[in-house]
Every structure is written in C-alpha cells, then in structure tokens.
C-alpha cells in the first residue's frame, strides 16, 4: 500500500514537474520570441533614427515680401500707373549640413516673373583651422550692405551706391573667411568672375576680380555698446573687346593702343556700425566708398571710328555713402532713418555731368513685428537729384511702400 502511495506521489510529482517544465519551456519560447521582436524593433528604431538624423541635417527657411507701392508723378508717367501690388521677393533657402563643418546652401527666388537662382554654394571648415571657412559657388559679395539679408534689413532696399557697384549682390567665385572668436576679427577675401548680374553662367573675360574685407569688433559691455569697424577694397577689371576709345571721368577722350584691353575698376570702402543699449536697442550704421568704375563699350567691332568715338568705354570716378539710424521701441517696433548719397561721376558736376548726376536720398521707415514670422513695414523714400541742363528739376520719384513680410 505504501509502495503504491509512493509510486502515485512520484507519478503525480513527475507529471506536475513535467508540466511545469513544459510551462517554463513555453514561457522561455514566448520570451525568446518577444526578445527577437524587441531586437528587431530596436534595429528598426536605429534605422529610423539614422533616417531622422539625415532629415535633421536639412534646414528649410524662407520668406515672402508682398507690398503695395505708390509712386511720385514722374515715376507714374514712366510706369504708366501710380500704384501697384508687387511680390518683391519669394525665397526658399535649403541648407544641408552634411557633416560637422560642411554645408550646402541653395536659395532660389520665385517672385512673379523673376525665377532666379540667388545662392548656390558650399561652405567647408578647413581642417584644424576651426574659424577659417572656404566658400565656393554663387554667393553674396563680401560687403556689409550686400550680405545683410533682405529679410532682416531695416529698410526695404539697399543704398543706391551698393546696388550700383554690386548689381544683383551675388557673384560666382571662391571666398576664404576667417571669423575670429578670441580675437573679434572678420577677414574675407573673395576671388570672382566679376560683372555678374545674375544671368551669365561663365566669366566674360579671363581676369578675375578680387575683393577683401576686414572688420574688427569692440565690445564695451558695461556701457552696453558694441562697435564694428572695418575697410574693404575691390580690385577688378572690365574687358574692352570692341572699342579702343575711352572717355575719362573728366570727359576727355583717350585711346588705348588697341581694343581687347582691360579697363580698371577699383574702389575702397570704410564701414562702421555702433550698437548701443539706450532705452532699448539703437544702432548707427554707415559706409563710405569711393573709386573708379568702368563700363566696357558694347559697340560692334565693325562700327566706324566715329561711331566708336560716340560710344566709348567709360571710366567713372564715383563716391557714395549711407548712414542709417535704427531705434528699437519696445520689443515690436522699430523706427529707421537713412540718408544715402551717390555720385556716379565726381569729376563732373552741373551741366557737364549730363545724366551722371548725384542723388541724395532720405528714407524713413517704421517696422512692426507682429510675431516671430510677420513683419509690417511702411517706408517713404525721397530721392533728390542734382539739377542741370539735362535734368532741370528734381525728378518726382518719391516712393511710399507698405510691405508685409512672412518669414519661416
């Protein structure tokens, strides 16, 4: 009887143990399956994280500037209308940070009737030279007024001198830039095709233009003041392909030995910006530039001597400057006043200047920042031109603009 009981208990225990082992095995199997699934999930997360990291390297920003303009009487006659709505700029900027210190930038402009490539360049931090970058492609020329983004600029357009000597702002070339951290200095040297206006893909002559800029920054934290000052120089040339006659700034006519000669263009600029924390931010920004610009004649090489003398290459001694006062009023408002001056030919004045007359322009603007993305601007621009026989009175070309800028 005892034996039977022992066998029975042993059998029950064995069966129970066996079933327990089965349960454990089954649990192990389930855990194994889940572990496999978790590992697979982990791998998928890692892959997704990698993909997301790639996407994080792409930054998209942009802005649209829509405005209404109202013109002075003479501008109305020229245009045929007194006011208009207008999309001034509609840009999207794509920046891809491929690796630490390597960046690709592409910025098209989609404003109505003006699809254009504005920026297309690569920036590379030179190895072991942390603050030195190499820029290659189509980019802004190294000048403060040029490089200061249209989306941030306090006035709607750049000063007349800037838009004249740097048409289209961009150039195709290579730039070295040193941005000091311990020594607050900015050095820029750019070699470029020269004469770029936004359309020609390649250079029009063999010589390259060179521009260099130096800016030093001083901080006086106790006074809440910062001063940036510097200088820049442009050294370049234009090729006189078809005409050997050159009209100098003073109106005299010279002759090169023959056509296919280079005409100099070079100028020097000085710049200063003072930022002061006086009941809110305030800045005074100024730049002066003077030098010689040249324009190559477009007369046909087969033209007669008389025709060539009538349309010679041109040398112009020019000078220009601007001074801008910006005052922040609270966090949302900004008042701006700018005076700018540009004389395309400093050697001639009065009737002798013909149409190369100087302009003195006052611009007043008020900006209201609705939020991080929207800015409203009202600006009144009053250009005043030199008067002479060719331009007997001040041209009525004042301009009132209201602009809405949406930026993201």
């Amino acid at each position: 009887m005892k034996k039977l009981l022992a066998i029975g208990i042993f059998t029950v225990i064995s069966i129970y143990g066996y079933s327990q082992k089965q349960v454990i095995d089954s649990l192990k199997e389930v855990i194994g399956n889940h572990e496999g699934k978790l590992n697979a999930l982990d791998d998928r997360v890692l892959v997704n994280e990698g993909d997301l990291a790639k996407l994080n390297k792409i930054k998209v920003s942009g802005y649209i500037q829509a405005q209404w303009e109202s013109y002075g009487a003479d501008l109305e006659k020229t245009n045929g209308y007194s006011n208009t709505f207008y999309i001034r700029r509609a840009r999207i900027k794509f920046t891809y940070e491929a690796a630490d210190g390597v960046k690709f930038v592409l910025q098209p402009d989609f404003s109505t009737g003006n699809l254009a490539l504005k920026d297309a360049y690569t920036v590379v931090n030179l190895p072991k030279l942390k603050n030195l970058t190499l820029w290659v492609g189509q980019m802004n020329r190294p000048n403060y007024d040029v490089e200061y983004s249209s989306s941030s600029r306090e006035l709607l357009e750049r000063a007349r001198v800037t838009t004249t000597i740097y048409p289209g702002e961009r150039e195709i070339g290579a730039k070295l830039e040193y941005n000091g951290i311990k020594i607050p200095v900015l050095l820029q040297v750019m070699m470029m095709n020269g004469n770029f206006t936004g359309t020609q893909a390649k250079d029009v002559d063999s010589r390259k233009d060179v521009m260099a800029r130096f800016v030093y920054s001083v901080k006086l934290p106790a006074a809440g003041v910062g001063i940036d000052f510097g200088a820049n120089h442009y050294f370049g040339s234009n090729l006189a392909k078809t005409n050997k006659y050159v009209k100098n700034s003073d109106g005299t006519l010279d002759s090169l030995n023959n056509a296919w000669r280079y005409l100099d263009k070079h100028w020097t600029g000085g710049e200063i910006r003072i930022y002061a924390d006086v009941l809110g931010g305030m800045s005074i920004k100024g730049e002066y530039v003077a030098g010689i610009n040249s324009v190559a004649s477009t007369v046909a090489s087969t033209a007669t001597m008389a025709q060539k003398k009538a349309s010679p290459n041109l040398y112009n001694n020019f000078a220009g400057c601007y001074i801008t006062l910006v005052k922040n009023i609270g966090a949302k408002n900004q008042a701006v006043v700018r005076y700018d001056y540009y004389d395309p030919n400093t050697k001639l004045s009065g009737d002798a200047a013909g149409n190369a007359i100087y302009y003195k322009t006052w611009a007043f603007a008020w900006q209201y920042y609705l939020n991080d993305n929207i800015r409203l601007t009202a600006q009144y621009t009053m250009p005043k031109n030199e008067t002479n026989a060719s331009n007997p009175s001040d041209i009525k070309d004042n301009l009132f603009t209201i602009r809405v800028q949406a930026k993201f």
Partner: protein, 276 residues
C-alpha cells in the same frame, strides 16, 4: 516742412510704443535644462518673498532659450554655454543690441559612470575618443571587456555644444543615445553598468563622477567647490543668463537678487558653484 511732419509722426509713434513696452508684470525664463532646477528654485524663493512678481521658468535647452530670446518670447534666457557669434548677429539685426551676458553660476561638466564601473579616471583625449567612438570598449581604459554605451544630450543643449566645442572637437559618434535632459542621462547611466554620460554636476545622484585630467601626466579631479573655484577641474564653465537689453525694473531686481548672497546660496544648495 513735409519732412518735419513725417519725422514728427514717427517720433510720436515711438513715444507711444515705448510707453507700452515698459509695463512689465511677468518675467519669463527659458533655456538650459542644466539650469532648470536652479532657475526653478530661484523663482520659487523669489516669488515667495515678492508675491507681486510672477516668474515662469521652462527648459528646452540653451539653443531653445537663445532662439526664444531672439524671437522675443522670453525675457531671460538661461544658457550653459556662451552665445555664438551667429546668435549675437541675429540679436544685433533684430534688436540692435549685443545682448547682455550675466554669468550667474559655475559648473563642471561632469562625466557620469555607473557605480559598478572599474574605470575611475579619464583624460580629455579619452573622453573625446569615447564620444567619437575611437575607443569602443572599457577594456581599452582598464575596465572590463564590454562595449561602451554612450549617452548624451540633444543638439539644442548647451552642454552638448560645450562638450563638443571644448572637449570632443569632432562629430559625436552616431551611437550616442540622445536623451532629453541631464536627469535622463544620469538615470540611463545608473541602470547601465557599461554606460557613460555627461551633464551638469547638480544632477549626479546614484552614479559616480569620473575624475577628469587634462592629459596622461596631469592629476585627475572631480568637480567640487574647490576644484571649480581654482579651475583645476578641466571642464569648468560658467552658466549664463542672457537678456536682450540691460535689465530694468523687476527684472533687474530679480537678477540682482540672484547675484546676491541669497541667490548664490541657492546655487550651492542645488549643487553648482557660486560665481564669486
């Protein structure tokens, strides 16, 4: 005459706008996650003694705080790294000031190790090699034969940027697990025997500090009041508050209090180190 009229209108508008601009009743503080517990403690104590003032503190990282300062959505930005030149340029463009930098505490960027880890000391180069995955196994540092698991911060973090710029000096390895906040980094290292992380000194509970030395021949130090004060600890940094303009009114009063005896006592209580 016409010019004078326009100028007069602008002047009146300017005066009206400035009158509305200076009526401040609430102070918003945004930025560094490293500083968030410190900033919250400051705010609590200050509001207790100054009930008329409301101080709203949020984290998000130094980068987030600086962006908020530029966008005008915060009054004070907390940052565990200095502002970059590009960020200052944005402030100049938008507000025509260089911003105001106020160092308000000192910190040692702490390297966290699991308490069971045999490794106790690291050079700056080793830390760089670990976070760039040139060193992948604890065995290479005198520890057990196990893969090093890397924990770090998101790229909006000032500590991420500071360690990158001052120590790592190259791209972080893709195997670094980015975590939202120093507390999360500490928690991960606490649970992971083979983990390593970094962050502000105030968060190191349940993990051990690695001694850090400049190079093989130097002495290793852990961040302490003494080693931070005399700059012996090699990864010592300031913690900053940034403002768009020089502080006035209640904001000035609050900042003066932070830099005073009581505010700096809070710095020590939380686990950071006073500026003076």
């Amino acid at each position: 005459m016409k010019h004078i009229k326009i100028f007069s209108i602008m002047l009146i508008l300017a005066v009206m706008a400035s009158a509305t601009a200076f009526s401040q009743s609430k102070i918003t503080v945004k930025g560094s996650d490293t500083m968030v517990i410190l900033a919250q403690r400051w705010a609590e104590l200050y509001m207790k003694n100054n009930p008329q003032t409301t101080i709203q503190v949020t984290g998000g990282g130094s980068g987030v705080g600086i962006t908020a300062l530029i966008n005008g959505t915060t009054d004070i930005c907390n940052a565990s790294r200095p502002m970059k030149q590009t960020e200052i340029e944005k402030l100049k463009a938008r507000y025509n000031t260089l911003g105001v930098e106020i160092p308000c505490a000192k910190d040692g960027v702490t390297i966290f190790l699991n308490e069971a880890n045999k490794v106790t000391e690291l050079t700056l180069k080793q830390i760089s090699d670990i976070y760039t995955a040139k060193i992948r196994n604890w065995k290479e540092l005198g520890g057990v034969d196990a893969e090093i698991r890397l924990y770090g911060r998101e790229n909006s973090s000032g500590t991420y940027t500071y360690l990158h710029d001052e120590v790592v000096k190259a791209d972080y390895a893709s195997t670094v697990q980015s975590l939202p906040g120093t507390a999360a980094v500490v928690n991960a290292v606490k649970k992971d025997v083979n983990g390593i992380g970094y962050g502000g000194a105030a968060y190191a509970v349940g993990v051990k500090y690695a001694k850090v030395k400049k190079d093989e021949s130097s002495t290793g130090y852990v961040p302490s009041a003494e080693t931070i004060a005399n700059n012996q600890y090699p990864i010592t940094r300031y913690l900053y508050m940034y403002l768009r303009n020089r502080p006035t009114g209640e904001t000035k009063k609050y900042i003066d209090w932070i830099l005073g005896v009581e505010g700096q006592r809070v710095v020590t209580e939380i686990g950071y180190f006073p500026v003076k």
